[in-house]
């Protein structure tokens, strides 16, 4: 059943149809919230809250945009409100709170990979909230600039500028982390990675 059909049924008060939509998008919304707030437990609460808001306001959804885009917009707003409430803009995160995905490689390779990811997540938290949202929506959710502008407001051009700026900031931050790591700890595990860049 397509999104439009499920949404139409949900708008008539069909709860199972909406639960079908929840199952379809729960991973994407949860991943988006994880990226935005860098806290797995909060991400769960926020994604549930986003679905709840979507359910309560489903009748006001006019179907001139995709349901997925509308849902992302609700989720992003929930994350913004959470971050405003906690005043966590720019705060360094505790990456231990995040579940870092492992590839099942050797323990040493796994350690390096996890270290890379920790640095990436730290770099992500240094970004302004909007740029973090743009990066996540563009790279992880695969949205076009037009769709990103529908989610975040503004224009597609502004989304493109935010995306480019975010990539440059991440590049700078990760490079400076590399340089710092090489200077402080020129170990055998770090040296190949530093020379690679």
């Amino acid at each position: 059943m397509t999104d439009d059909q499920l949404v139409a049924r949900a708008q008539e008060g069909d709860l199972p149809a909406f639960e079908e939509l929840v199952k379809k998008y729960q991973r994407e919304v949860y991943g988006l919230a994880c990226r935005m707030v860098s806290d797995a437990e909060e991400a769960k609460d926020l994604s549930q809250q986003a679905f709840l808001q979507a359910f309560v306001n489903i009748k006001s959804f006019r179907r001139d945009a995709q349901f997925r885009t509308w849902l992302f917009r609700i989720a992003i707003n929930q994350c913004y409100n959470f971050l405003k409430g906690r005043k966590k803009f720019g705060d360094p995160i505790d990456c231990g709170e995040l579940n870092l995905a492992g590839e099942g490689a050797s323990p040493e390779a796994e350690l390096i990979t996890q270290d890379d990811r920790r640095r990436l997540y730290e770099a992500m938290t240094q970004l302004p909230t909007k740029q973090r949202a743009v990066i996540t929506l563009k790279i992880e959710q695969g949205l076009s600039y037009e769709e990103i502008s529908q989610v975040l407001g503004g224009t597609a051009g502004a989304a493109r500028v935010n995306y480019c700026q975010a990539l440059k900031t991440l590049k700078k931050y990760m490079k400076s982390e590399d340089d710092h790591e090489v200077a402080m700890r020129p170990s055998a595990a770090v040296a190949p990675r530093a020379s690679r860049r």
């Binding site: 008060g13 709860l15 909406f18 639960e19 929840v22 199952k23 729960q26 991973r27 949860y30 991943g31 994880c34 990226r35 797995a40 769960k44 549930q48 679905f51 709840l52 359910f55 309560v56 009748k59 995040l98 579940n99 870092l100 995905a101 492992g102 890379d116 990811r117 990436l120 997540y121 990066i135 790279i139 992880e140 076009s144 600039y145 493109r160 500028v161 995306y163 480019c164 990539l167 440059k168 991440l170 590049k171 990760m174 490079k175 860049r197």
Partner: protein, 224 residues
């Protein structure tokens, strides 16, 4: 950095398959092919994108999603039960119509009333009526007090306390105003006086009559 590099590096994340115009794609491709600095920049940006793509948030597992679905179901059922009551205020858009219409109507009515009361067409108070009322008030004041007497002790302190504020309330003009005693009932006034007071009073009335004036200047302060 050349000006061309600075210009084109804004579009580097879109190279080679971004949504750029065809002419800009060709320009970017030609420039990257010949500019080592831009090639390095492009490689660094791609590395960042690859790192992000390679580090998705870990799927929390089937148990997490079962719990998520269960909690979500409970919340949705609660929201569905509370839904009709909760959505009533928002759905009853027409229910607010009386307020939306009534508020401007009330404002217009108040403005109209204010204009009618204070505007140029407002009813002017009858000055003649006001003038007629004033002597009645002034004449009433001495009636409440005993006749003017040099002996202040004859006037009770309580009555004086009543009179002084009345005079002060009327802007302090009272002490200097002339009081018309032509309307007094002389027998009534004399009945409450001692012989000495009667003599003094009648002497003063006669004195005024000789001067040709029936008005006697009385002052509340002179009594005091």
């Amino acid at each position: 950095m050349k000006w061309q590099c600075a210009l084109l590096q804004r579009w580097l994340p879109e190279h080679p398959d971004g949504d750029l115009p065809a002419w800009r794609k060709r320009w970017l491709k030609a420039h990257v092919a010949q500019c080592p600095a831009c090639r390095r920049e492009l490689a660094a940006l791609r590395e960042v994108v690859t790192a992000i793509q390679a580090a998705p948030a870990k799927d929390p597992g089937a148990e997490f999603w079962q719990e998520f679905s269960r909690e979500m179901h409970v919340k949705l059922v609660q929201a569905a039960q509370a839904g009709p009551a909760a959505s009533r205020p928002s759905s009853s858009r027409w229910g607010r119509l009386p307020y939306l219409v009534g508020a401007p109507a009330l404002a217009i009515l108040l403005v109209w009333v204010a204009v009618q009361l204070t505007g140029p067409g407002s009813p002017v108070p009858n000055q003649a009526l006001l003038k007629r009322k004033a002597p009645v008030q002034m004449a009433a004041v001495p009636r409440r007090a005993p006749a003017p007497s040099p002996k202040l002790g004859a006037v009770p302190a309580g009555e004086l306390a009543e009179f002084v504020p009345v005079a002060l309330d009327e802007g302090g003009a009272m002490p200097t105003e002339e009081m018309d005693i032509s309307g007094w009932d002389l027998d009534l006034e004399l009945a409450g006086m001692t012989n000495q007071e009667k003599e003094t009073f009648l002497k003063r009335v006669n004195q005024r009559a000789k001067d040709g004036s029936c008005a006697e200047e009385l002052s509340l302060y002179s009594w005091a």
